[in-house]
Amino acid sequence: MPTSTLTRDDPPPPRSPAPRRRGRFARTPAGRKHSRRLAADLCLLLAALAFVLPLAWLVFSSVDADSGLTARPPTDVTWDNFDAVMTTDITFRPLLNSLILCGGATAVTVVAAALAAYPLSRYRSRLNRPFMLTILFTTSLPITAIMVPVYGLFVQINLIDSMSGTALFLASSQLPFAIWLMKNFMDGVPKVLEEAAWTDGASSMQALVRVILPLMGPGVVVVTIFSFIMMWGNFFVPFMLLLSPDQMPASVSIFELFGNMGSVVYGELAAFSILYSAPAVLLYVLIARRLGGGFALGGAVKG
């Protein structure tokens, strides 16, 4: 909390040094500062306008009875589009599939990452550095590139079109980054507390579950939600590894709505897009503040 208020209070400093300046410079810099702020505000608002146009189309046409491709405020506000897509086939089953797929994969990722981060963060070993370097290397490999061989492999071992297989793959592809994040968060927890637990007779696993993980709660939340959002938005993996329509998560099933380009009911597509995006956006809002706080905390411990 205190860290976040510190960063929140960042704006005042630029204003305060101005009066402290020597007399003859006092007016010009202050005036220049003011006009510069105005210019910056205008530029940013222009950029914001450019960025918001596609989003505005999404919101407007989802409640427009007669929506086209141009963003314009609806003349006739209606919830019909939402009503039309709120069916088992279009919305609920794909979203449930997404939830099962991404929820399961996230659980695997977070548990495996927390376990792996523990020895990496706590014990010194000659293997730590090479291992972390490999992890770092893997985080930035383009997963897209290995999807063709993964497909081939999944066909051979008969995992194709299986939810659990796809979830395991999603989990593994997210693991390197999750381990990296988790280890960094864990490094921030002082060792003293855990040594106290050891003295009281706790095993290292007990120390991990009872002492470290609760202490790095925000970090675990960040890793969990971040992994979940990444998987929720992932299109290529389920697109390649799942075949039967009734297993498809929302990221793939949305193409059904899009249908053959041309005969699309844009209002419904927009309504479904909102329903599908909402969880990711809301979850991000949830961690946005903690993300800042968490990183600030990490910086404080390190620096």
């Binding site: 914001a48 376990l115 291992f131 590139a145 290995i146 081939g152 299109f235």
Partner: protein, 329 residues
């Protein structure tokens, strides 16, 4: 320090076992209060294994689902494996790669990938992200919050949804053309005339937030005294940027460029949702080319060879990125 402690303790209670020990080995096996120091070589191997045990599940998963496919990728890139009907594939050596470099479609995809990456990641996301971040430093709080929220929303929205939004934006009857009409500028069917430009802009729209966040963090770490000193010395906006700001955040720039490029190299869903690589193959970057070869043309071996090339480029970038970060590991 602890090295000295075991010796007297060992000899002290070794009245029973002193006969058969050449020193520390016997004593080390007993659990003792100092197990955190790497003192005794004989039992350090089993203990190290025990300690490393929690890494197991993660390692198994990554070996099975990441290292396995990569190894498999390397193998079938050298075969003529096809998707249907073929009982067995045979080793064809470098044939797939030779085909690739003589294949117009492949060369086209390489060029488009280059254009897409340079335009959207290196020029677009990076520069726009830096511009937004530095403007935000000066802007008033309300404007900063609103702009930040909008740009970040574009980033958090799922890839496919972003694709549809920008599809609607760039279509003939879409928002962009309405705006252009309103400004009395010529409009056109962007997805048909300049598809690669449209998908590049889509990627900029979607990815700028990341650069913006990286640069906001980096800029806020520059001490105020330094920029103020530059101002007192009479450095104007651009000179300050070039001589003070950019050198101070160069590590962030390098990191950000690398990550943006890697991310952009593997964009699939966004382009798929907007153009499917079309019209024709005019927005078919390498990932889409790879997909088409492997699945539409059933040339799994050939598609994988292309994938391997993509993977190599990615690995190269990744290695450079690691070198830049090496002090932090």
């Amino acid at each position: 320090m602890t090295k000295h402690v075991p010796a007297p303790a060992g000899s002290g209670d070794a009245a029973a076992g002193a006969a058969h020990v050449p020193g520390q080995a016997g004593g080390g096996r007993r659990p003792r209060p100092g197990p955190r120091t790497p003192a005794q070589p004989p039992n350090s191997v089993p203990r190290a294994l025990l300690r490393a045990l929690p890494v197991g599940p993660a390692v198994v998963l990554m070996l099975l689902f990441l290292a396995g496919p990569i190894a498999y990728c390397v193998w079938i890139a050298f075969t003529d494996l096809q998707l249907s009907g073929q009982a067995e594939s045979s080793f064809v050596g470098l044939e797939n790669f030779r085909t690739a470099f003589g294949d117009e479609g492949f060369i086209n995809a390489v060029w488009l990938t280059l254009v897409f990456t340079i335009l959207s990641s290196i020029v677009g996301q990076n520069t726009l992200g830096l511009a937004l971040a530095s403007l935000m430093q000066r802007a008033s709080k309300a404007v900063r919050t609103v702009t930040g929220a909008i740009v970040i929303t574009a980033w958090v929205v799922p890839e496919v949804v972003a694709g549809f939004l920008l599809y609607a934006f760039f279509r003939r009857e879409g928002t962009l053309n309405s705006v252009l009409d309103w400004l009395h500028l010529p409009s056109q069917n962007w997805l048909y005339t300049l598809p690669i430009l449209a998908v590049s802009f889509a990627n900029i729209w979607r990815g700028t937030a990341f650069s913006m966040l990286v640069y906001s963090a980096a800029l806020s770490e520059i001490p105020k005294e330094i920029t103020e000193a530059a101002e007192v010395d009479g450095a104007g906006g651009w000179r300050k940027l070039w001589h003070v700001t950019l050198p101070m955040i160069r590590r962030s720039i390098a990191t950000n460029l690398m990550l943006n490029t890697l991310q952009t190299l593997s964009v699939f869903g966004l382009i798929w949702a907007m153009t499917r690589g079309g019209p024709g193959d005019r927005s078919q970057t390498l990932p889409l080319f790879m997909y088409e070869q492997a699945f539409k043309n059933s040339l799994l071996g050939y598609g994988t060879a292309v994938a391997l090339l993509l993977l190599l480029v990615g690995a190269l970038f990744s290695l450079v990125y690691m070198r830049m970060l090496r002090t932090e590991v």
